[in-house]
Symmetry: C2
Subunit: 297 residues, 2 copies
């Protein structure tokens, strides 16, 4: 079993396929990295690339992709609906297995420094890598976007964490950081009353006194005539899936409603499933390396 | 994600380290195979080797190890407490992921044929690969052991499935087959009364009307002063972990006893944990490829 991180860089190009291909090619050609997904949006004029790999390999892939984006994308020409400050807009590292958040913060610092020194692009650190509370949230770092930051960057409170206090003439700035894996999780209810789903969502949402790492809404799934609690689990190591599931089940019961199923949308780290099995089977002393497939890596 | 099998060949040598090393070296040097465990027992004079890999790579590793054992082990000289018929005594293939039992049976046939033709060793097929009911169980195939089978092999009902109807002069015969993964699973009770554990074990054992793929006993764990139901799950795809756990919980409750924990001893296939999480979280439409780490293979 080797250390594994996920990296999800966002690039300010969602229209020109040859540019997107050139950038993703930089990821593909690094040994020890697996490209999982490339998602381009034309109206956002933005591409989200997802890959996993050994930490140093992931850093190299992120750097090479960022260098290629700086070469091919001109922010002076860029238009799109999504907020952005640079050709490579944001690069988060996410711990997947056998690695701590602190190690991902360290990785973000190494990459940020390298981008600043070798590409002359100012770099801001965000989320777990942020050096001040004002830079934890991405919208705060990105305030004014590319056009606004061109001027604002010269004022000391907007100076970058690495690199020159002026925008790269075409590539702008880049935000690098570390955050937890986000699990998109929906719980389906045996009711068509969306208000029940909204009340249950409020019972688990951090802002309403619920779980710290839980964002939730009640929504209606029209084609199934079914109310749903739709959840972003922003740190499954702090607020585990089973706890949210059991709380929703218990709150639903108060309205005479049942949980008829749940859905994990997209990817989930193996550890979240191991944690679930550990809880329900009351496992004692279980270790990841007991999972047969873990011995292949 | 690639097809993956486990292979657990047993060799009739548990004392001479240089012979054991030479055999396991044959496994190690095949690309696409990971050696998980080597367990030698001197009184059994036997070594159990566990490895996983892509099917054709696993077959090659098993063949090469078998050829090396035929070269270095002389059954005429072999003594040990454990029943055996050959230098390579038995080679089971076990489906791990993305592969069916039928494919493992096919693999056993290919390997059996190759051992017979290239090494001139008679091969018997057992368990899921057996061609007649009389050869499903290993003890039936091994009846008379090496010494007895030397004569018996000439009678038509003991003719091998592949190869000559006479023992190899030094390597004897080899039994090849396919079976499910066995999970060793214990459930701990909040009582020191072993009779309660025995009664609960009877409720889940196949022979007492319990689950088809469940072997169970009630035992006392002296150092914790605790009764335990100790279980062999011989096919977790037919009788899943969660069903056995929930039945034990329910039966224990009838005696006013609680389940205080459970233990998975040794390895468990990822799929058994996925199945557990699917059951308890009532997951809809979940696929293995949603497990992030699965995308590395």
């Amino acid at each position: 079993m080797s250390k594994l991180v996920e990296c999800v860089p966002n690039f300010s190009e969602g229209c020109r396929p040859e540019v997107i291909a050139a950038i993703t090619e930089e990821v593909k050609k690094v040994a020890g990295v697996s490209l999982l997904n490339v998602n381009s949006d034309a109206s956002h004029n933005r591409t989200v690339v997802t890959f996993i790999g050994e930490p140093q390999a992931a850093k190299l892939a992120a750097f090479n992709a960022c260098a290629k984006a700086a070469e091919l994308i001109d922010m002076e020409q860029h238009q799109g609906e999504h907020p952005r400050v640079g050709a490579t807009d944001v690069i988060p590292f996410i711990p997947v297995s056998d690695i701590t958040m602190e190690e991902c913060v360290q990785l973000a610092n190494e990459l940020g420094q390298e981008i600043a020194e070798k590409l002359n692009i100012p770099v801001y650190l965000y989320e777990a890598a942020a050096k001040t509370p004002a830079r934890v949230k991405l919208p705060d770092v990105r305030k004014g976007e590319y056009e606004g930051l061109k001027k604002a960057i010269s004022s000391p409170e907007r100076h970058p964490d690495y690199g020159p206090a002026q925008m790269h003439p075409t590539a702008g700035a880049t935000v690098v950081g570390a955050r937890q894996f986000l699990i998109a999780y929906n719980i389906n209810l045996s009711t068509s009353d969306v208000n029940i789903a909204k009340k249950i969502a409020n019972s688990i949402r951090e802002v309403k006194g619920g779980y710290k790492y839980c964002r939730a809404m009640g929504v209606m799934i029209e084609d199934r005539n079914m109310a749903q609690v739709t959840i972003n689990m922003v740190d499954y190591t702090g607020t585990p899936l089973h706890r949210v599931f059991e709380t929703v089940k218990s709150e639903a019961d108060r309205y005479g409603v049942s949980v008829i199923g749940s859905e994990i949308v997209g990817m989930v780290p193996l550890q979240a499933l191991v944690d679930t099995a550990e809880f329900y089977l009351r496992l004692e002393g279980f270790e990841r390396k007991q999972v047969l497939e873990e011995n292949l890596r």
